[in-house]
């Protein structure tokens, strides 16, 4: 059990933790925007951590370089896609969930 294995396990565990919390948020939050908030942030970080963990496991090679490229691409594209979806939802007239509406 050397340093690389410990780092790999730590990164993968972090990725799985954030995937789980994002999925719980998707299932439990009340409306479109808060669900998007949970999955957009949680999944971005989880994918980044998992891919960096796989890159560490692979060591220095062409494959790990490709994995790092995918991680950077996901890190740029995923928040932007979330932003575009939430913007489209807001523009098409979806009202954000408010606590007062639930009481009345």
């Amino acid at each position: 059990m050397n340093v690389t294995d410990i780092l790999f396990v730590l990164f993968m565990a972090g990725g799985l933790f954030f995937f789980t919390t994002a999925t719980i948020g998707l299932l439990r939050f009340p409306d479109f925007f808060s669900r998007l908030h949970a999955t957009g942030k949680g999944d971005t970080l989880a994918v980044f951590l998992s891919l960096v963990g796989l890159g560490i496991y692979e060591g220095f090679s062409l494959t790990s370089l490709k994995i790092i490229f995918i991680a950077v691409f996901m890190f740029l594209a995923q928040p932007t896609a979330t932003h575009a979806i939430s913007r489209a939802g807001f523009r098409s007239g979806l009202k954000p969930w408010l606590k007062e509406e639930k009481k009345s």
Binding site: F73, H83, R87
Partner: protein, 152 residues
Amino acid sequence: MIQKSDDIIIKTLARILVPFIQIYALYVIMHGHYSPGGGFQGGVILAASIILLMITHGLKDTQKRMSEKTVAILSSSGVLIYAGIGVVCLILAGNYLDYSKLAKLLHVAPAHARSLGILGIEIGVGLAVMAVMFSVFFDISRGEVSQEDEDE
């Protein structure tokens, strides 16, 4: 008609990502006979990059870079490259798409000529697929315009 997005985040990121997507598409086309991929997949990725440009920067800006005439020329030249390589093999006394006969023309070993022939075929397929995918998307989005005009 697809309007230009007025959101600076989406526009900037699309502008940054489109060249990298296109380089990746060329990699998929060129590496098709060693790894998964090939002309069809690479052409679709190339078309997806232009469609991304179109849904973020609008129809007019994309038409300046890629007009309908260019799309028609690209799609027909892709088919011409594919069929042309096949016919050249026929002329050199082989079967249709029998790349090893290209060795006389290119002055290389038959195995190497086969690899180059597949590469040429994949470039042709990639060009044709890219142009046709884009023209399908182009026609769909232009169909919306005439519908709206009729309503008005």
